[in-house]
Symmetry: C2
């Protein structure tokens, strides 16, 4: 798939397409628009130029057409109202030489104007694929799962974690007290809420100054530094400075809101960073919730892997979010799957999580290479935070050992209390 | 709208919302999730904290409900399949102190996890508003319309421009020859295609070296430097270096693919730049084409104005893209409308444009503060490129003078040839 007959090095993008023209023609329109031509020949588009730069339709799989367009197009209506809207999945192969190791150019090529083409009434980027030697030219995750485990001192089980709540509004000393309680409960991982970056009443600097001594105190006791993903999202200069402050203070992780910092910013932080990057995908719903538009998570996580994110959120099973559980599991599998030699990204489960989801997750993934974050499931445990953390670990022990949760709970009181308390909610 | 009863400084976001719960409740869920709480009270969410940090529902306007959800939600289906899906428009007021002058945090607040809430079956950011003194803390456009006109030497009429075609694949000397032809035709503005950044066979450096002497030669002749928006999109370091190279070589504009460089990257370029930033919005279709999801252009252009983009694409009237003409006009109006003291951004019309659209645009906007880009409308003119440029100018002269195009064409042969040639296509 990575070479055509003339050995031109290529990468490919796979799309769902719905269009007012037959799907093979829509594929040619997309290949033209996203490379050297339009569907019609342009003056100046010589054979030599086409050989260098023209994208090619590598595959067309037709699907049954539909009678109503998923997305309206004034252009298609003006041309002639279509009686059918054609559907299919297509692969487009692009010359690597068109793009190089340039994330904004890669995105402009595979996810640019094609979303707006008049013939197109549905378009979703499903997947991307590329040769290893092309992928190697991007930053990629510097730490990934192994590096994260090494810094967190947690092996052979998931990192059990939580999010500081309330999400925003706490003063620095209030945050530090909560962190103290969480660390006293032997938690593995804590993160800021994505809303919390540098509020006027709890600046990044003040929070770091309040929190780090607490973390260091517990690190001495635990023999490992609890990993705190502190949200450094801001301007480029702020993010680099804040990363350096976290590193200097002995912290082991930084968090970045990837969609709104953007590809150039995240890659820049990655090239500079000496700590894992916890990627928060807030806003992702806007990119994916309409099934005939936007991005699949499979493609999305590959793009952020290229940029160098080490952890990426995937929602939770039975969460408070819109996403079906099967989709959440597929997302986690994608994070862990091989991709052109790029390190896997550690999937982060959160929202509505407690001990009960451990068997679901392990059953589906057969892996413990993940973060399992619980808010109420830890802080709301009837016997306190330490029992909340213990109940999550016990849930995972049971899952990995293949023991039913209720059975395991008979000899594990924290899990037992979680089961009776949270199931009733 | 910018202050509540306690004089807490706020900014507001307006949304279209569809949800499985009544719209006033959905508004409270959103205000909670995007600030200090959930819909239920959290331990630690004290009155003092709420006063500092809690978002408030400033307005709820109900719309007629629908029987089918626009977006599926496994959560809503699990809870109890709703018989009605409620719709409305809501204003949420957020404390400025939660966010500060931090674009990623602003986006995470107004366009973050709320898109994924289980109760939500439709959500679109319609607009934002903020006090002038808050907006002033962001970078904002450094040049805007006046600065662009000064550098381009074009006043009291639109900038007439084109895009180098084929989009990608030309060698540097081929590009330079096309630029020479365009400048010989007295064009005001040229831009790279968004696909073209730094291809292996036509690197940024080689293209700049080939093109700039041509531009300088014509600048000597014209008494003004034709504005060339050269695409600098890439890594942060590359973008700053490329900007400096363009500036050093006497260029007057740089182009950035805003969605894929991202907010932090674009603002960083803006803080560094001494040239206007031509904002290309490729990928925008994915953010906006489903009407019950994503972003309106009104909100989107305000966010990029805050980041400091000077020009922003709005598609064209009767273009090859999906967008209805009325929506294109609304977008241009939004770019030119006042917003919290932030400079307007110059709207850029392109795709399928030629002289005929001038009366439509002027009639709707009553403004010449725009760029009007034509590909085939200039390069495909039957009498050549110079006549193509002349026909666009003549179209605008007729529009501004209120003369019918066909009448004006009687004494303007370039326009006459355009009318007979392009109308037949």
């Amino acid at each position: 798939m990575s070479k055509n007959s003339n050995s031109r090095a290529e990468f490919t993008a796979r799309y769902f397409v719905e269009s007012s023209v037959p799907i093979a023609k829509a594929a040619e329109v997309i290949a033209g628009e996203q490379s050297s031509g339009t569907f019609l020949a342009l003056p100046g588009e010589t054979d030599a130029l086409k050989e260098r730069a023209r994208a090619r339709v590598a595959r067309v799989d037709s699907l049954p057409p539909v009678l109503e367009p998923s997305l309206k197009s004034a252009y298609a209506e003006r041309k002639e109202p279509a009686k059918l809207y054609y559907r299919g999945e297509i692969d487009i192969a692009f010359p690597i030489d068109n793009v190089g190791a340039n994330l904004p150019a890669l995105l402009s090529t595979i996810a640019g104007n094609l979303f707006e083409l008049g013939e197109i009434t549905g378009l979703r980027l499903l997947d991307i694929d590329m040769p290893d030697d092309y992928a190697r030219r991007f930053a990629g995750p510097a730490f990934g799962i192994d590096g994260t485990r090494r810094l967190a001192g947690v092996h052979a089980r998931p990192l059990i974690g939580t999010i500081i709540k309330p999400s925003i509004g706490l003063l620095p000393d209030e945050t530090a007290r909560i962190v103290d309680d969480l660390c006293a409960a032997d938690i593995d991982f804590i993160k800021d809420d994505e809303l919390l970056a540098d509020p006027a009443y709890a600046s990044f600097d003040a929070r770091l100054a309040a929190v780090m001594p607490v973390l260091r105190k517990h690190a001495d006791r635990l023999g490992r530094m609890p990993m705190y993903a502190i949200n450094i999202s801001g301007t480029i200069d702020e993010m680099l400075r804040r990363h350096d402050q976290v590193l200097e203070a002995g912290g082991t992780c930084v968090m970045v809101c990837v969609n709104w910092v953007g590809f150039a910013g995240v890659e820049h932080v990655r090239r500079h960073a000496q700590l894992p990057i916890h990627g928060h995908r807030n806003g992702w719903g806007a990119f994916t919730r309409y099934p005939q538009l936007g991005f699949s998570f499979t493609a999305y996580q590959k793009l952020w892997r290229l940029a160098g994110v080490d952890h990426l959120h995937v929602n939770g099973v039975r969460s408070k979010f819109w996403e079906p559980d099967a989709s959440v599991i597929d997302s986690a599998r994608a994070c862990l799957a091989p991709f052109a030699g790029v390190r896997p990204v550690m999937p982060v489960f959160s929202s509505g999580q407690w001990a009960s989801q451990a068997p679901d997750l392990f059953g589906a993934l057969r892996s413990v290479d993940l973060m399992h974050l619980a808010g109420g499931g830890i802080i709301g445990h009837p016997q306190g935070i330490a029992a909340g953390v213990a109940s999550m670990r016990e849930g995972w022990e049971a899952a990995v050992e293949g023991v039913d949760l209720n059975t395991y709970a008979k000899t594990h009181p924290a899990l037992l209390a979680a089961l009776s308390h949270f199931k009733a909610i």
